[in-house]
């Protein structure tokens, strides 16, 4: 701020890109070695932020996906193409996400996207005030469904339902909290559907094996599904 006062708006505008002028403080968190707040010139490649300023990932890990602008922004897969995108408002929007708050959350390939989806959904379920129906019931249903995928009681059809549910939440709520869950969740399913399916199938097989091996101990979730 003192710099802007000192050097003037034109100087500030000379930084960044034409449509995203100036600088921005980004907050990098997640699987990076130097998480923290960095002031960047808008328009620098995402890669420079994650691998440069934030110190990159642990050795051997690669970026599975990242939230470019807070946990309510649709995730972008960690492809070279996405990592080379200039970090500015336009480019993020064009890529199907948003720059939002500037909080970049990096997820490496050691994590299952289903878990990321669950953490995100749980956060928004907790935050929902409960006033409007799509958000109150949608966040709750999403969490229950992801739980079910995790314990191996889902079918590929459920993933379709989950995806449709996110679409049903977006734009239909009283405020944007519901959208804030549905947008990243929707993007995760869209961009990582095979991983969802594999995760689900693996969980299903694990659960069957457990049932076959063990003394048929009925778990709470089976009872739950029956209820």
């Amino acid at each position: 701020m003192p710099l802007i006062v000192d050097r003037g708006a034109d100087w500030f505008r000379s930084l960044g890109t034409e449509k995203s002028a100036g600088t921005k403080v980004v907050s990098v968190s997640g699987n990076v070695r130097r998480p923290g707040n960095y002031e960047i010139e808008l328009g620098i490649p995402v890669r420079d932020i994650i691998y440069g300023l934030a110190g990159g990932l642990e050795p051997g890990r690669r970026v599975k996906c990242f939230f470019p602008g807070g946990s309510s922004a649709p995730v972008l897969p960690g492809t070279d193409e996405n990592l080379d995108l200039p970090y500015d408002f336009d480019s993020m929007a064009k890529a199907g996400s948003m720059l939002g708050s500037g909080a970049i959350i990096v997820i490496d390939d050691a994590h299952s996207v289903v878990d990321v989806a669950l953490w995100t959904a749980e956060f928004y379920r907790h935050e929902s005030c409960g006033k409007c129906s799509p958000c109150r019931e949608g966040t709750n249903w999403t969490v229950k469904m992801l739980d079910r995928i995790n314990v191996g009681e889902a079918t590929p059809m459920d993933i379709e339902v989950l995806a449709q549910m996110q679409a049903n939440i977006i734009g239909n709520c009283l405020c944007v909290l519901g959208d804030s869950m549905a947008m990243p969740l929707g993007s995760m399913i869209e961009k990582f559907r095979p991983e969802f399916e594999d995760h689900m199938e693996a969980a299903r097989q694990a659960s069957e094996a457990e049932a076959a091996a063990g003394d048929l101990e009925l778990t709470g979730s089976v009872e739950g599904a029956a209820a």
């Binding site: 379920r125 799509p134 109150r136 049903n168 939440i169 239909n172 009283l174």
Partner: protein, 857 residues
């Protein structure tokens, strides 16, 4: 604010051009084009929309996102689409979301068959469910109160009940607790939701989450029929629908919205009081006194005994008419007395005498406001009345005017009012000093001469009178809700004169949307007066040749000029001042005929002939609302037991006394005769009254009421206040048959309470809950002491009409000072009054709503 003018705009909905009022929400505007947009949380009665349920999403051209039709006002040229795939998919989605946690237990749900959720799910839902996870669970059903059960699993969290409690009843008891999918409706501390209007949440609930305790599991919608009529349990005369089973049993009552009367609400007395109709101890046979006790007899015997007794008494017959009597019944009774028996001793007022000139001025169309004028008044003056106890639904109306339209409320009463919190000015005068308070207000409005002296006589601080007067003086429109009690007692005429003088100083007849609305002491008080049930005025408020005795003068005359008493749904031992005088009069009277539905003590001990009175659900006829609206009672069930129509019994008595055949064959004939006798009702037909009623002031015949001038003579000087503790008596919504004979309301039965200030309690060494005796000389009633902050020192208040310890034992219409003494604990324990642990608390309920258990994880 003045009544807004309706301006229409045109907009396009689903390809059709529709004209709708400007500013109407799209949901309502769409109805002008026969387009239905589904809603759950939207209910215009609750005030501004909240857009919470998201059911009403529609597409509006030029706006990228779908919009809630409940909160988007119609604009000229707007293009709305309600049937696109996009809208349909959003509607399907919302229905699916709402059903996620709904148990779908429709087959065992009271709302099944009359449930908006069912209807909307059927009309706008996806038709299938994809939700297979566990639903949330709550302990259920719980008693939210003794009258309302709550099933939190069925709740779709539409917020209607909570908004109602917060913004309509303003009792602030119901809240949404917790958040997200574990939010639920409850009270702050799990206490029962008890209030005079709590039952409205049953009607508001769009699912089966809030159900009526007495109606639970009694019927399905296809087992019952609905019958529209009017509740006669208080002067509000709310329009109701009765749910009737097998043509003979009322199972439920709910509001039948009439914005000119009740604004779509109903108090709990009206909602649950129907239980009295089928009470086991109701009188359903004619009875005569035989060997000292009342015995059921055939009608012929009862009629012939009544005829013999009345014939003997002749002109020595006097009659009291209670507020539940219809216009026709009142008309026929006064005709029986005046034309057949030659007596003018008939009164429908409990106390005081209404001057003929005053009655005609008060009836002036330009001096009377309509109920809906309250909505748009600049100032609402509540004068010597407590609406919530005396005409309950008007309380909500005043709150609405203040909350939504910025009306400024002025309260001028003796007892602290429940509207004080909404008032901008409060004048608290001494009990019985309304005449002086009115004169003081008048003085403050006209320059202030004599104000200090008058305020002193009223026992009210002069500055409060000044503050109230300045609000009144600056108002462009004023509605005055005045309590009939200011016309009671020996100085009643002076009280009315002071009221009229105040109206003159306010130039109320020259102000648009302004006028008086009386809060009478009984339901059909206005109608009964207009059809001739006053000792000095016949039908049409016309002076009669001979003037009869007013109610207050009757007891003294029994044994001399009066030998027989007719009580038409009236119980002087309950409702009339000077209870001992009435008890003695009933004892002295040689012949007493009572038309009643329950045996009060006077009837039980003194009546010679008892005719069973039909309830409002069994009556056919008309009543007149305090604002002049003639309303129609429709018979909703068959007559219970041996009950006969009351108009018919009165006609039969008259015919028998005259040895003529009965000429009055039907209720409509009775209406026709009544209408013909009241010039300003001329030409009114039952068809014209219809289901919504008609104000006679709005008809041409109103001009036949001779224009009486507002008196402009100088007022008498009101009397000085006496020294000592002044007794005020008040009415309670909960005295009388509803709490004594409707089981579900019995928990509200009031016990006698002596409300006094903390100062007086300290001086008299009383604590809340002490059993005390209030009275003078040898006359005393027992009460539980209750401290109330806002009671001014020097006043004590008792309730009129309680089953025991009735305050009317201490009143005779004149201001009264009393003494209070504590009853020693040992003595008090042996009395009818239970020792209340905390008499300062709201009337205790017998049952407690548990707090919700957390849903399983």
């Amino acid at each position: 604010m003045s009544r807004p003018e309706e301006k229409f705009v045109s907009f396009d909905i689903d390809g059709r051009e529709v004209r709708a009022p400007e500013g109407a929400m799209l949901v309502d505007g769409a109805k002008y084009g026969d387009v239905e947009i589904p809603v759950f949380c939207y209910e215009p009665k609750l005030g501004p929309p909240v857009g919470a349920c998201r059911m009403c999403l529609v597409e509006i051209e030029g706006i990228p996102k779908l919009q809630t039709a409940c909160s988007t006002p119609v604009k000229d040229g707007m293009v709305v689409i309600t049937k696109s795939d996009r809208v349909q998919s959003a509607q399907n989605a919302v229905v699916e979301f709402l059903l996620v946690n709904h148990p779908l237990d429709c087959p065992v749900c009271d709302a099944g068959g009359e449930c908006p959720l069912q209807d909307v799910a059927y009309g706008w839902g996806p038709g299938r469910s994809r939700f297979i996870e566990p639903k949330r669970h709550f302990k259920k059903p719980l008693e939210l109160s003794p009258t309302v059960a709550i099933d939190r699993e069925r709740c779709i969290l539409c917020y209607r009940c909570v908004r109602y409690s917060q913004e309509i009843a303003e009792d602030h008891q119901l809240v949404l607790l917790e958040r997200a999918d574990h939010s639920f409706v409850g009270t702050h501390d799990g206490a029962p939701y008890v209030g005079p209007f709590s039952g409205n949440i049953i009607d508001l609930c769009p699912v089966g989450a809030l159900t009526s305790v007495p109606y639970r599991f009694r019927a399905r919608p296809w087992d019952v029929e609905e019958a529209g009529t009017v509740c006669t349990l208080c002067p509000s005369q709310c329009n109701v629908t009765l749910t009737v089973r097998d043509d003979n049993k009322v199972l439920r009552a709910f509001n039948r919205q009439n914005d000119e009367v009740d604004d779509g609400w109903l108090c709990d007395k009206g909602r649950f009081g129907y239980q009295t109709i089928h009470a086991a101890d109701r009188v359903v046979h004619p009875m005569v006194r035989d060997g000292g006790t009342l015995r059921a007899v055939p009608w012929e015997r009862a009629l012939s005994e009544a005829v013999a007794g009345l014939r003997k008494a002749g002109a020595g017959t006097a009659a009291l008419v209670g507020g539940e009597a219809t216009n026709e019944e009142g008309f026929l009774l006064q005709r029986l007395l005046r034309e057949v028996l030659g007596s003018s001793h008939v009164d429908s007022r409990p106390s005081g005498r209404l001057e003929g000139e005053h009655a005609r001025v008060l009836a002036r169309p330009d001096l009377s406001a309509r109920v809906s004028d309250i909505d748009y008044a600049d100032v609402v003056l509540v004068l010597d009345a407590e609406p919530v106890d005396e005409a309950a639904i008007l309380d909500l109306r005043v709150r609405k005017a203040a909350r939504r339209n910025g009306a400024r409320v002025v309260v001028a009463t003796s007892r602290p009012s429940s509207l004080d919190a909404n008032a901008e000015a409060v004048v608290r005068f001494a009990p019985g000093a309304s005449e002086a308070a009115l004169a003081a207000l008048g003085a403050a409005l006209t320059g202030g001469a004599g104000l200090d002296d008058l305020a002193r006589r009223a026992g009210a601080p002069a500055e409060t009178v000044r503050a109230a007067a300045s609000l009144l003086g600056a108002a462009e429109s004023i509605v005055v809700l005045w309590g009939e009690r200011l016309s009671h007692g020996a100085r009643g005429p002076q009280g009315v004169a002071a009221l009229l003088a105040l109206m003159r100083s306010l130039d109320i007849t020259g102000k648009e949307g302004s006028g008086l609305i009386e809060i009478p002491s009984s339901t059909n008080a206005r109608g009964l007066r207009e059809v001739g049930c006053l000792p000095n005025l016949g039908p049409g408020l016309v002076p009669t040749a001979g003037e009869g005795l007013a109610a207050a003068d009757m007891p003294g005359a029994v044994g001399e000029d009066i030998s027989a008493l007719v009580l038409l749904q009236a119980d002087p031992l309950r409702t009339h001042p000077d209870r001992q005088a009435w008890a003695a009069a009933l004892d002295r009277a040689t012949f007493v005929v009572a038309f009643t539905d329950f045996l009060g003590e006077g009837v039980l001990e003194q009546a010679d002939v008892v005719f069973p009175a039909p309830s409002y659900a069994e009556k056919e006829g008309t009543i007149t609302h305090p604002d002049g609206r003639l309303q129609r009672l429709r018979q909703s069930i068959g007559l219970v037991g041996e009950v006969r129509p009351q108009w018919g019994v009165l006609a039969e008595l008259a015919a028998a006394l005259e040895d003529k055949p009965v000429e009055l064959l039907s209720s409509p004939m009775a209406t026709e005769q009544m209408v013909a006798a009241v010039p300003f009702y001329a030409g009114v037909t039952l068809a014209e009254i219809g289901g919504r009623g008609v104000r006679w002031q709005d008809r041409d015949a109103a001009s036949s009421l001779a224009a009486a001038e507002l008196p402009d003579g100088a007022l008498e000087s009101p009397p000085e206040l006496g020294d000592g503790l002044r007794l005020g008596t008040v009415l309670s919504l909960w005295t009388g048959k509803v709490t004594e004979h409707a089981p579900v309301l019995s928990f509200l039965a009031p016990q006698q309470r002596a409300e006094l200030s903390a100062d007086d309690a300290r001086r008299l060494d009383l604590s809340p809950g002490d059993v005390v005796e209030v009275g003078f000389d040898g006359t005393r009633v027992r009460a539980v002491a209750a401290l109330r902050d806002a009671v001014p020192p020097g006043s004590v208040f008792l309730v009129e009409g309680t089953r025991t310890d009735n305050a009317t034992a201490l009143t005779n219409g004149a201001p009264r000072t009393v003494e209070i003494t504590r009853v020693p604990d040992a003595v008090a324990k042996g009395t009818s009054l239970p020792l209340a642990a905390d008499a300062g608390a709201a009337d205790a309920s017998t049952s407690v709503a548990g707090s919700a258990e957390a849903p399983p994880a």
